[in-house]
Assembly symmetry: C2
Amino acid sequence: MKEIAALSGVSVATVSHVLSGKKNVSDDTRERVLQAIELTNYKLNTIAKSLRMNKTSIIGVLVEDICGLPVPEIVDGINQRLEESGYQVLLSNLRLLQKLYNQYEQLSQCADIINRGLQLLEDARVDGIIYVAMHDRSIGGIHQPVGTPLVYAYADSADPGSTSVTYDNVNSAYEITRLLIQQGHRQIAIIAGHVNSPAATHRLTGYRRAMDEAGLPVPSEYIRRGDWEYHSGAEQTDALLSLAIPPTAIFAMNDLMAAGCYTAIKRRELRIPEDVSVVGFDNQEIASCLFPGLTTVALPNKEIGHTAAGQLLRRLDGEMLPPTGINLPCRIIQRESTAKR
Amino acid sequence: MKEIAALSGVSVATVSHVLSGKKNVSDDTRERVLQAIELTNYKLNTIAKSLRMNKTSIIGVLVEDICGLPVPEIVDGINQRLEESGYQVLLSNLRLLQKLYNQYEQLSQCADIINRGLQLLEDARVDGIIYVAMHDRSIGGIHQPVGTPLVYAYADSADPGSTSVTYDNVNSAYEITRLLIQQGHRQIAIIAGHVNSPAATHRLTGYRRAMDEAGLPVPSEYIRRGDWEYHSGAEQTDALLSLAIPPTAIFAMNDLMAAGCYTAIKRRELRIPEDVSVVGFDNQEIASCLFPGLTTVALPNKEIGHTAAGQLLRRLDGEMLPPTGINLPCRIIQRESTAKR
DNA sequence: GGTCAAAATTTAAACGATTAACTTATTGAA
DNA sequence: TTCAATAAGTTAATCGTTTAAATTTTGACC
């Protein structure tokens, strides 16, 4: 900037005024300064600007596991919205699930890792943080950053004072269960995900509500515990099909477990959907690649990212919004895996 | 830092010396300074440090589409390696494939977008850049940043002066084709990916080499053009099975297209692997969820990230390494989708 | 007690922007 | 003519570190 000033015969202050456009500068000098900038290949030093302005235009995005399925889409959504407003994304990946998926009870250890991640982002002086939380809200001891706005995405926070953007698990599970009921199914089993996950709890609630409303019984052996993985879907389906009264429809809480259902059903040489109807959840890529195509629920992952970023930006703009929990609706994708009974 | 200095009765320089540990400080004063730091909740301002040191400890990671399958794993690998060395990741997501997958010929437009992404990272004063490139190396006009080391990951660069970390497509395709040949197959067809992709070209080369070596003919109708997506796998398989001499084995260049194969084969009420053997590529999650399990090639995505980050770090440490192309080996995953003939 | 090198500490100049406060020039109304 | 208001541009402080160079303190040795 000094160089530009010298070249165009003005002070650095004037150069800065030209660049920011906030102060009056005569057309004549503006022209000269801009020409000088053309000539040299000057690049504004954003670091110096950040130091002076106390604002980095960087948002920290904290994820528990970037490889977890919905995460990249959410990050994409965040990125897209932030980009529009001139912010960049500093990514912090905790690799939490990889380490602790099956030792989920070590909650305090989780909290430590999460806090360290938050601290790292704060130390980098990010303007705000979006935490893409997949874990159970029962993880306590998470230290709310002071002076750095924080928005939760995907799961909601245990802290009522914080803002979170999530989607409507309860209602979506309710709707897809209704779909099966309307097709005449009365024996509808469910394969749940991991016990500590809020998604699993909510989806179970939606299922139960639909069954109750329709006056259908839910024998306890119709509620199976899986772990979100393919194999548990197959195992639990095997168990279901061995019951005295096997279900005519199975609701797997994600598509991967639904794929497991498919395998177990086909191994017994039963047909989908003629013998057993199957529905999944999440609309993962696999859903459209199974044969027959899997009816499932599409999650608005990108929108979660968009909305979370939007919430954060409004707070950064100085709007004094009260903390809110936003629930985005999901969409049922009908394919060929269910049939009338 | 001023506050600390005042509290412990020394100059800010001494505080800095204590913190950096590079200069001699008497035990006595060190103790006092550290106590003062305990007392206040002082946090080093990394922005000021960056400005003074001309080093941000941030690496820019440029991806064409964060939602593309191998990308999160590669980013994870990068992240893990960088974290160990105290670097953070600034993510720039171009959303290129989403926009241009099917208009891939608009190469100059691609280059513009890529260059803008690189520029954004440079402007943020990152210490180095890793470009996770999925596109064809024929995209020219990519502006090499000056003064910011750049390493390519996944695909290699058209520029011979640059360093890239990729995996051994040719050899892996060769090996998996050999596997089919050794099982006695003589009619082996291949469903290729998108024409502009370097992965597709390399895999085809490996396939051809194996067939040639075994003295097996490759009729042109055995080489089908897919687009990496599920549906093209099904379509092309349909075409193959309608041939006068249908293949006894099909090599799909990725698992998604292999899933398409499965569907087309099952629609004709043929059995895998008894009637037709199928192999895929990539070892996506879907490979283990298909029935029967798909034999495929596992890509060392995380290692690509690790290695690329490692290469970059060595350059940042001042090592004067010549540009290299690193090829990581892949591993064949045998499941149940192939049978002796 | 004096000398001198080594150790400890401070001073002050960077790094590259922004901006409040100030100076000077210009315009226009009373 | 005078004065105020506005415009255009400059000066210099500031953001919070690091670090070369200068200065002071320490302590060993004669």
